[in-house]
Every structure is written in structure tokens, then in C-alpha cells.
Point group: D2
Chain length 251, copies 4
């Protein structure tokens, strides 16, 4: 198996190193990641300038772009590596509920949607126990053939995995979940620059709004690894009729 | 009605000016847009630095950030304007099928998901007939009360509107559609910098892969305005069982 | 006379508009400026990516780069305009003493050093009386032929002009000056980002250290327009012997 | 002796590693460098956003800013290190003649002008023999006390050192030089982006225009280490009278 690894915390992040060292016994790994922290990059592509891949001292590829740029270039053949699947992470911090809209970690996995196997995004709900998330990644990837085989997950699917920030022995198990929701983000933080001008710093995620049983928030809170299948088609099929009725007014 | 307008082509783009002048008779408009072209920005947030809003000569707000930053700051109260809904566009070029993953225009609308009314993203499938798209925007927004009222579109819904690039009189009508799909993107374009180093420029969208009847691609090809309801919840509910079966192996 | 105008405050800055409207009766003006505020850009060149000039609604050229990029591209023939001289400004705030090392306004003028006539950088020691600085610019440029003719200022010379922030009638006259000096900059300002990490914001210029008679600081303090001739050759000719003696130890 | 090291090629450049390992026996070294290649950054300061220093795996400090930012923050006390002098390099490629205007390597050294000892900028006229330049740096720094002592180089002086790209045994000796000059830069290179728009890429330095005996170009051509003393005061003292005569017309 050939694995393409990426992340959004940047090529020097500890989570990426942990992921690479955990998965390398399962197959050949090619690591391509942003040269800087690009948390919050979502699926953004750098269209205004060409990109320059550079190899780092530990053999990873570093790109002056976004997580999506990295996977896009890798699948475009730049590194002479044809991956079977994309694994993205280990993100420093959870990607739960609406976080997935903004997450570069999830976006990197999503960019692998044309490959045969479902892509995997892995986040640690904290900043300490990367080795737990690395072990989770190892277990998931080594069982992956079955998922894309007999279980026949549909194409263009992505698994969003969140891992509790605790030793592996204290993990309660694995749970399939749906995304919860966050409420509106807290207001931007006001800072003054040294010349007295006011600037506004985006404060990040909103408070948890929907975290009931079955959600990813709930699984993490109970100490389970949360696994949410995501699709890439954003069509709201159950609203097609309503919109159609509305359009009758316009036509 | 109070309307928050944004886009991803930047505060000086002709599509934004056309949108603003078309909608201002329907309500108070506040325009907040990126200071540069940010096409392909997706839902990316600028988390690494504070942002500086500046008012331009025509009263629009210009922000050194992404489309999502713009709407995020506006909803965070920066401009003393509490909008009823977000309208984003008019994008220079279509946003069809998988384009919506990368589009900053769609992302700006998505950031308005906490408001009562469905948000609207409007794109012109070309670069000439902005006045057609502006007229379409006017008709949609003026009928919008009904959509959020008696038709009761669910919360966290977004309408992705694409308009054929032709005079309004030649528009065939309005069609509700589902997203088609594009295939894998074409390979990055190789350029040499003046010092002889190779760089790679992302080539943009892939070829159309699924554009059958009912898709947004098909509506545009036939000269109809395409209206696709999008949801924001990416959970693949129909795969929960399969993943659950798979997890039994791991638990 | 053909004049190339630029600045470092960006293409939409009021000082640039004032400069252009003041000088256009003296010759054909081509305006090429950064799309954003690039104060502090010094002589920096964008070497890592290609640049995209775009024309704004008032006919100025806007470039996604530095002041030096702007003049560099203009002299490289991009706008089919062969200027006789470069005028840069009107900067919002003074450029006195060591400020010239960091100033993009001065750097833009410096990039015009290959043209026949000395280049001109104009800064307003404040943010109100742009019309005063515009009138000063008009008077200087209209007398410029003499400077490059009978007075034969050497090639590769630049005039750094600072104008007191007061009505023109209250200007005491014009003074030739040498650069004063600033002491070490004040310490960077510490800010916390919304995630609790400490960042450091450069606080700007140091306190005035040498501002005695004959300096630019002194002229401005007394209400005179300060004009400092600058050269571009940084060789310290009077130290060549000392360094030579030192090298004897190494050879 | 406490040495502050920086460069403009970025914290991972081989020249910086060679410099640090060469100088560490002469004193305590603190290394602070840009996180990316910032060649051509000149003395630019990042004023629009706060900076985030991060320590790399080999103990260097990496900053998301310019070379001048790096030295500025270090002298501002961020790293609890009070250096005696600044050494910048080893640059990949020469910094000769007008190159010093644009060089971030020279600018980093210049930012150390408030310290007691002259600062040092070291560039390799090529990309292979970093060990030669490292040995040159070692010899210069170990003799530096004498330069700032009995030879009493004036304050605010900088030595710009260029080293031939050859084995140390083939170095002909050390020469004090003045800066030569380059002619106007070659025209920007035109590239097409993947969407067909024309962009312009700055092509870099102009051809050599003045490289006679005594210049830095000449010393390098003959196989000598070139050492040019630079001052920071850009006042053209020998033109003060001419400008004064001209101003009589205006007063």
C-alpha cells in the first residue's frame, strides 16, 4: 500500500512526524505538507502564484502553500508517487462538528477523493498524546482494505477521526458518529497595533451547540475514538422539492 | 431587509458593484469584501494575524483577508450592521459541481448560515453579462421571504445560483438542480522562474465528469439559471451503518 | 517631461492622489503603486512569485508587490511609458534620518537611479496637509531641469524631501539638510493571539538621537521643507585604509 | 563574545548551518532567521502584523518575517541574549555592487549597527564551497577585536564580505574593496498563468557596469576575498552645496 500523508499544522509539526513513523511499516509513505502552519485553510487552493516544493532534511516535501495544494500537487504526479490513499494529520486539536468546514486537515483528506480508498483525517483532541492517535491511525489503516472492499463504502467518502487526548490504554473504544454543531463564533478579539490602529483577530470556534448522543462531540467526551463518515456532495437533496415550488413563482 | 454582500474576486470586482447596485433598492446593503482577488479561498479563515478593515471611496469595506473572514467579522458586529441574510457574488465564472468545495463565493454565503434566512451565492458562467446575474439576484432576493417563510427551507441551507452568460431576455428560466461532478484536475502547469528553478502552478478545475439531466452543469448548458440547495452538514448518514460494521472489527 | 509616480502607502492612498493631481500639468504621469500599504518595505523585491499589474478605475496601475517592484516593472517597459524621472510619495508621515533605510517611498525613488534626472521622494510630516506637500512637489519638479542641467547633480542621486504638516503659507522656506539619526528602536510590543500565544509586533522607529542644526529633523522642527541629497553608493571610502591595515593581519 | 547570527535564505539554508558550526567555538551563538527564503528582502520590516518566533529542532529561532525583523526582535530582547555583534550569512550567491541595496543578508547585518562592533555580512559567490566561507568567517571574527579596538572603525559601519566559490587553499588572499556597480536590470520575464493571464517575474540583477580595479567584482574575479566597508548614512555630503544653490531659486 502506498500512503500519501499531509497535514495543516505544517511540515515540522509533531503530529505529522508521529503519523509518519507509525504508518511506515504498513506501506511506502510520501509526506507532503505546508511549510508553515495553515490551520483554518479549509479547501483553499493557491491560484495566484506557482508553488515551490522543497525536500527537508528528513525527506518530507515542504510546499509554500495550503494543505489542499500539497495533496493536489502530489496527485498531479510531482513526486513520482501514485498513492492508494491519503491520510492527513495528526492535527493538534480536535476537528469536531462545524470545525470540518474550516479544517485544512480534513481538506487535505478530501483532496484524495478520486483515489480508490476512502481518505482519512485524524485529529487529536488535545496536544499531548500523539502516540495514542498514531496507534489509532495504525489500526485503522491496517483494517482499511476491508472497508473499501467487502463493506464497499461509496466513492468520494472521507472518514473524519478524532482521538481523545489520553493514553491508548484509557481509550474506551471506537464509535461511529455524526457531526455535532457549534454555535456562532465568539466575537473577534480587538488588538491595537503599535501605531494605535485597531485590528480584529478571529477568535476561532464557537461554543458547542449540538452535542447530543451520536455526535462526535459526545464520543470524544466519553473517551471514545470518534469516526464520522463524510461525503463531498453538498447537494441538499431533501430540499429540491421545496426550492422547485419556490421557483414556480419565478418562472 | 438588511443585506450583507461579499465576494471572492475582491472589493473592486465588477460583479460586486453590479450586485450592490441591483440590490440596494430591496434593503440596506453593507458590502464587505477581500482587498485582493481570493478566488479558491474556500472557507479559509485567517488565524495567524489580525485583520484591518478599511473603507473604500465607494463606501465598501475592504479587508486584508478571505471571503470567510469578511462575513465572519461582519457577523461579529464590526460594522454595526445586523444583516438578515448574506448574498455573495457575482462571481466572475461559474461555480458548478465540485467547484463549490474551493469557491470563496460559496464559502462567504456559507458563513451566513446562522442567520434566519438561507444565504445566496451567485456566479456568472462567464465574464460579460453581469447585468443578467444582477437581475437574477434582484428577483431571487425579492421573493426570498416566501422561501424562508411558507416554504420553510431548513436552517443552515444555502442556495448556489449560477447564471448563463447571456442577455436576460435569452434566459430560459429557473431550474432547481443537484451538483454535478468534475473529474480529477488537470496536472499542474510547470513554469521556470527567472533563476531557472521549476515551479508548479495549479491548473484549476478538472473536466466535467457527471453533468447529466438534473445537474447544475446541464441547466447552465441549456440556458437556465441553476439553483442548487446546499447543506452544511457533511455527515454521510447513509454510511453510518457500514462504518459501524467495520468498527466492530476494531472494538 | 514624463513622470513615473509611485509610493509605499498603496494605490488608494490620499497622498498619491494629491501628488498625481498636482504634477499632471507638468507632464505626462504614469502612476504605478502597490495594491496594499507597504510601509517599511525598503528596497525589497518580490523574487519568489510573478506579479500581476491591474489598472484601477482612475487609471493608476496597481501591483501585488512592493514599491521597488512597481518602479522596477515600469522601467522594464511594462506600461509602454519611458519616464524621465521618478517621483515617489506623498508619504503619510515623515521619512527622516534612519527612516530612509526602511522607507518604501525612498526605495521607489532609488529604483529610478538609472534615469537621467535625480529622483524625488516626498513625505509629509503628518497626515493632514497633503496639499502643502503637493504644492512643494510641483515647485521642485518644475525647477528640476536646472538641477540636472547647470547644477549637474551627480548621477545616482536622490532627493529626500520632507514637508512640515501645515498650510503652505506657514512654510518657512526650503533647506538643504543632512540626515539626522535615530537611536535604537523601542522594544517590540507584545500581543496575545486569541489562542493565547504570544506574538511580537515591531514598534517602529526609535527616538531621535542626532537632530542638531543642519539635520533634516531640525529643518522640519523649524517649519522648513527639508531636502536631503542621498547617494546610492554605500561604500565607506574613508574607512578603506583602516580595513586595509587590518587585512594585513590576515593576509 | 556573544554572536547573533542571521541570514536571508531562511532558517534551513546550508549557509547558515555552516556559519553557526564554524563560529560556535568563538563565542555563544544565537541564531534567528526567517522561516522562508527571503532573498531580496532588503531592510524591509513587517509592520502590518505581529511575528511569531518558533524554535526549530536544532535550537535555531525561526521567524515568519524578514531578516531585518529577525535581528530587530533579537536586539529587542526577545531571546534573552545580548549580542556583541551580528554576523549574517553565509548567503547562497554573491552580494556585489548594487546587490547590497536589495540584499537581506546585508540588511540583517545593518540592523546590528547600534552594537559596539562593526557587523559582518558574508556571501559565497556560488553555491558549493560553504566551508571556505565558513573558514573566512572564522578568521574575520577571531580578528575582530582589533578592528573595533586599535583600528577604531567608526560606529555604524558594516563589512560586506564576498568569498570566491573555491576551496580555501585556492583563495588568493583578502582585499579591501569599494562597491562596483550594475547596470539596469534585465527586463522582467513574462509568464502565463494557467488561466491565460500574463504575469511578470522580476529577473534579478543587471549586468556588471563598473567592475574595474579596486571594486568588489574585480577582487572576486581574481580569487580574493572581497571586504567592503559600508556606512549607513546615505547623505551625499558632496552635493549639499549644489542643492543649496538650487534651493536659492525656490526660497
Amino acid at each position: 500500500m502506498k500512503l500519501l500523508l499531509s497535514n495543516d499544522d505544517g511540515v515540522n509539526a509533531p503530529g505529522l512526524a508521529a503519523l509518519a513513523s507509525s504508518l511506515q511499516s504498513l506501506g511506502e509513505c510520501c509526506v507532503v505538507a505546508p511549510d508553515r502552519n495553515r490551520s483554518g485553510a479549509s479547501n483553499s487552493l493557491s491560484l495566484e502564484r506557482p508553488l515551490k516544493p522543497q525536500q527537508t532534511h528528513h525527506g518530507f516535501w515542504s510546499i509554500d502553500g495550503t494543505p489542499t495544494d500539497c495533496v493536489h500537487l502530489a496527485l498531479g504526479g510531482l513526486f513520482n508517487f501514485e498513492p492508494d490513499m491519503v491520510v492527513s494529520g495528526i492535527n493538534a486539536g480536535a476537528n469536531l462538528g462545524d470545525d470540518v468546514l474550516y479544517s485544512g486537515t480534513v481538506a487535505a483528506a478530501m483532496e484524495g477523493r478520486f483515489l480508490g480508498k476512502p481518505a482519512l483525517a485524524i485529529s487529536l483532541a488535545g496536544h499531548e498524546h500523539y502516540e495514542t492517535a498514531a496507534q489509532v491511525a495504525y489500526r485503522l489503516v491496517s483494517q482499511y482494505d476491508r472497508l473499501s472492499g467487502e463493506l464497499a463504502l461509496p466513492p468520494r467518502t472521507l472518514l473524519n477521526v478524532n482521538v481523545p487526548n489520553r493514553p491508548y490504554a484509557q481509550i474506551q473504544g471506537f464509535k461511529v458518529t455524526r457531526l455535532g454543531h457549534r454555535g456562532q463564533a465568539s466575537a473577534p478579539v480587538t488588538v491595537k497595533d503599535p501605531r494605535g490602529q485597531t485590528r480584529y483577530w478571529i477568535a476561532g470556534v464557537g461554543k458547542i451547540a449540538e452535542a447530543g448522543p451520536g455526535t462526535d462531540f459526545d464520543a470524544i467526551a466519553q473517551g471514545f475514538v470518534s469516526i464520522t463518515p463524510l461525503h463531498i456532495d453538498m447537494t441538499r437533496h431533501d430540499s429540491l422539492e421545496q426550492v422547485s415550488a419556490w421557483l414556480d413563482l419565478l418562472n
